[in-house]
């Protein structure tokens, strides 16, 4: 007898957005009744993949088979008709409608084709909520009045209101308390016992171990491993696949003597509730300090708080011993801080503008008299900064959107170089930068440090932190679990620390 075809089989799925290849030939097989976990870092392509599966994105190429038959998911409705439901991380509920109305949104029980039968809707919603272990949620209440966990239950009830064969859950546990997570897992168990397949996305490895059957790991738009056993694959192997050290990066030499000047940046007891615990750190001129941790460990939040883009709950940031006004980017910039944010396009670049204007935006007043810009001086300075960082093309008049990722990052660095900044905050400096350009970017950062800049570096790529930084702080869920000179750490040790948080003995 021929083996039963998988419930879902995606193969060679590609999806490109302008300038990005989000999916580059992904394969995914899901069996009925299994919990299939999808792992990968931010930007690995998980969201794009599940949107293709939900019919929200159309793949560029590749085939999707459903119970062995090739299908095209033209729209979310088409996916829903097959029995594919998706529970997004950003819950897609209508806050001003009731629980029952949300559950039946788009397929309300009706009389005469258009009159909504409110009582029938409420009672069937109540039945679904009971099945999900939450009979206390009143179907007549407005969704906006519910807690995040309850809203998630409603979202799940909506998925189950269809005849569902496969449920995709995007980080369902992110907003939940531990006992709510237990309930979630019980629901997942019930569903799979009924033969429903669950595609489960999470960053928390311990959850995947608890409920997962198989794991597919995505990296840079590719499935680097498919169908690994979820319970027995070593953590190390999973992490190595996620961070993917398929290339040995080249890092610049560290200076012979570690920097020992007076710290230019001092962070004292800085914290934000729910994001990261009180943090102390110092960075000296010429020093690169790295923060290593996975997504969700609070790395970006720390940098943005140091930079004043987020207001801290406690603690303060000092530059040259002088405290900065909390929550003020302008104060930080004036004191000599510069941020190269994680989302370059969304947070740093003016995509419609030229390189010159992107580089000069933080120091315009230097080229201006009474607000009048001396464009010759501006262009000259931009050109010099562009040359110094060997940004290509070296014509600063080109639009910044035509540059490659690495050169866009250099444009951001050039901005702070031109400003004469003294502390550089780098958030995932090589995200979206191709391998060949990385070594060059590393060399640039090291050279800037050698010239006296203090650098605070955040990266989820452990080798990058270890290779580039002088000193490393290892983060796990918002707390520093270990601090050591980079020379004394190796990748496995750091991975153990960030994944398991084992005591640093």
């Amino acid at each position: 007898m021929a083996p039963e075809p998988p419930l879902l089989s995606m193969s060679g799925i590609t999806k490109s957005f302008p300038g990005v290849r989000a999916l580059d030939g992904v394969d995914l097989d899901v069996q009925a009744g299994e919990v299939h976990c999808l792992l990968g870092q931010n930007g690995a392509g998980k969201s794009t993949l599940i949107k293709v599966l939900a019919g929200a994105h159309q793949p560029g190429s590749g085939t999707i088979r459903w119970r062995g038959e090739e299908v095209t998911l033209r729209s979310p409705i088409a996916a829903m008709r097959l029995g594919i439901a998706t529970i997004y991380q950003e819950l897609d509920l209508v806050e001003h409608l009731s629980v029952a109305e949300n559950v039946h949104l788009g397929h309300e029980p009706t009389a005469a084709g258009f009159v909504v039968r409110g009582r029938a809707a409420r009672s069937s919603a109540a039945a679904l909520l009971e099945r999900l272990g939450h009979p206390e949620i009143d179907p007549a209440r407005l969704v906006g009045d519910l807690s995040a966990a309850q809203q998630q239950i409603v979202s799940m009830a909506r998925a189950l209101s269809h005849d569902v064969r496969l449920i995709v859950m995007d980080e369902p546990s992110a907003a939940l308390d531990p006992d709510e997570v237990d309930n979630l897992f019980r629901i997942v168990g019930d569903l799979t016992a009924d033969g429903v397949a669950v595609v489960y996305i999470s960053h928390r490895l311990e959850e995947i171990r608890r409920i997962g059957d198989r794991v597919t790991v995505l990296k840079d738009g590719r499935a680097v491993a498919g169908g690994l056993p979820a319970k027995s694959t070593p953590t190390r192997e999973v992490v190595a696949l996620m961070t993917g050290r398929n290339v040995e990066y080249v890092f610049p030499e560290r200076p012979a003597a570690p920097p020992d000047g007076v710290p230019v940046l001092t962070v004292e007891g800085l914290s934000r509730r729910g994001e990261f615990a009180p943090l102390d750190l110092q960075v000296r001129p010429g020093e690169i300090v790295g923060l290593a941790g996975l997504v969700g460990s609070g790395r970006s939040e720390i940098l943005e708080t140091v930079y004043g883009a987020r207001r801290p709950d406690t603690g303060r940031v000092l530059v040259d011993g002088k405290p900065l006004r909390p929550g003020s980017v302008r104060a930080a910039v004036r004191a000599g801080l510069g941020l190269a944010p994680e989302e370059r396009k969304a947070q740093a670049l003016l995509m419609l503008e030229s390189v010159t204007r992107n580089v000069s935006v933080s120091s315009m007043s230097r080229f201006a008299r009474a607000g009048w810009i001396d464009r010759g001086a501006e262009l000259g300075a931009a050109r010099a900064a562009v040359r110094e960082l060997s940004l290509r093309p070296d014509n600063p008049n080109v639009p910044v959107r035509t540059l490659s990722g690495g050169n866009q990052q250099k444009a951001v660095l050039a901005r702070w170089l031109l400003r004469g900044c003294r502390v550089l905050l780098l958030d995932e400096p090589t995200r979206g930068v191709d391998v060949g350009a990385r070594a060059e970017l590393y060399a640039v950062v090291r050279r800037l440090a050698d010239e006296g800049l203090a650098v605070l570096l955040v990266s989820s790529e452990v080798p990058e932190v270890l290779g580039l930084a002088d000193r490393v702080l290892v983060l796990r869920e918002g707390s520093v679990v270990h601090t050591a000179p980079a020379r004394e750490l190796d990748e496995h040790r750091v991975l153990d620390l960030v994944m398991e948080g084992s005591p640093a003995s």
Binding site: E248, V329, A346, R357, R392, P393, R415, R419, G436, D490
Partner: protein, 339 residues
């Protein structure tokens, strides 16, 4: 682990991003195409005007009239262009023009003569802009809502001041500005003001830090904030600027009409937004030109004039305007998507 190795083991060849100078030239070319196409439309309109009503349209007096009519809405549009480039909108411009024009023509104000009228118009415009700006920049209100509220209140206040009556201007200095005697080389003073506002607007947008910040805030407010720009203060200034332009426009209208009325500036907000948009300003912010907006104003004013000369009703005018807006946006979307 060996990470700090010196010889590059994996030196992939550097791929230079394709076509750099052409990309730059394309930007220049496209800007030119947009301006040229607007000029082309204007030229076609002039030809149409010249053919359908040759004696009237090309008459000097008519051309002076067209430009004078364009001046009031044109000054408003320059301010509106800045606001839209910054990603905002100002629905209150027409109402501010009305309020400024009636406040500046009350009996009490007119006692202060020319200076009193001009000063009051400008101050009322700035005051309304200040309220808009504070509500939007520091009160966190959506520009659409804040300026919609200003539209309603300013119109109401204008009605309250005039009680619906037309306030005749009796100050000779003001009235003289509208007379033929004060034309400079055949150009009405109002048109000179419009020209000056246009030139200053162009310079501010393209040559000053203020203009750069405006574009940066509209192009990517978060990036502007993280680059150290005071986004909120910039927004405040922009609504002040729009208010200032409304004040100036109100003064021009007083000169033109010889009176102040609470119905002045009716639907200016829509004309100004439409002119900016057909001029190539992105409603989402980040891109726009003063030249394009001014050409947009001239196109609209010329259409109105040609229709009036041909005794076509205003309903037909409105339909034509709507069609032009749609056509302009479709054309621009096509040029934008070919990059």
């Amino acid at each position: 682990m060996t990470q700090n190795v010196s010889p590059p083991r994996d030196s992939t060849p550097k791929v230079s991003p394709a076509g750099e100078p052409p990309a730059w030239r394309a930007v220049l070319f496209r800007a030119d195409v947009r301006t040229l196409s607007l000029l082309g439309v204007l030229a076609v309109l002039i030809v149409i005007g010249g053919i359908t009503t040759p004696d009237q349209f090309l008459d000097t007096r008519n051309l002076q009239l067209v430009l004078t009519q364009a001046s009031v809405i044109g000054v408003v549009t320059v301010g509106m262009t800045f606001v839209i480039i910054s990603g905002g909108i100002d629905l209150s411009v027409g109402a501010i023009v009305a309020l400024a024009s009636v406040w500046a023509t009350t009996v009490a104000t007119q006692e202060y003569g020319f200076g009193g009228i001009l000063f009051t118009a400008v101050i009322v415009g700035l005051g309304c802009g200040l309220v808009n700006g504070v509500l939007i920049a520091y009160g966190g209100m959506v520009p659409f809502i804040a300026t919609l509220a200003m539209l309603a209140s300013a119109r109401g206040l204008a009605l309250q001041i005039t009680d619906g009556r037309t306030q005749i201007v009796t100050v000779d200095g003001v009235l003289d500005l509208g007379e033929r005697d004060s034309y400079v080389l055949g150009v009405p003073p109002l048109v000179l003001v419009f020209a000056a506002v246009t030139v200053i607007g162009w310079l501010v947008l393209n040559r000053t830090t203020f203009g750069r910040r405006t574009v940066a805030v509209g192009g990517n407010a978060e990036a502007a904030r993280l680059a150290g720009i005071d986004v909120r203060r910039q927004r405040l200034y922009l609504y002040l600027l729009s208010g200032l332009c409304c004040g100036i426009a109100a003064f021009l209208l007083i000169v033109l009409a010889g009176s102040g009325q609470n119905t002045n500036g009716n639907l200016y907000e829509l004309d100004a937004i439409a002119a900016a948009i057909i001029g190539g300003t992105l409603l989402t912010g980040g891109r726009g030109t003063i030249v394009g907006s001014v050409l947009g104003v001239l196109i609209f004013t010329t259409i109105t004039n040609i229709f009036a000369l041909n005794n076509l009703q205003s309903d037909v005018q409105q339909i034509a305007k709507g069609a032009i807006i749609v056509a302009a946006v479709l054309v621009q979307r096509r040029t934008a998507s070919t990059t």
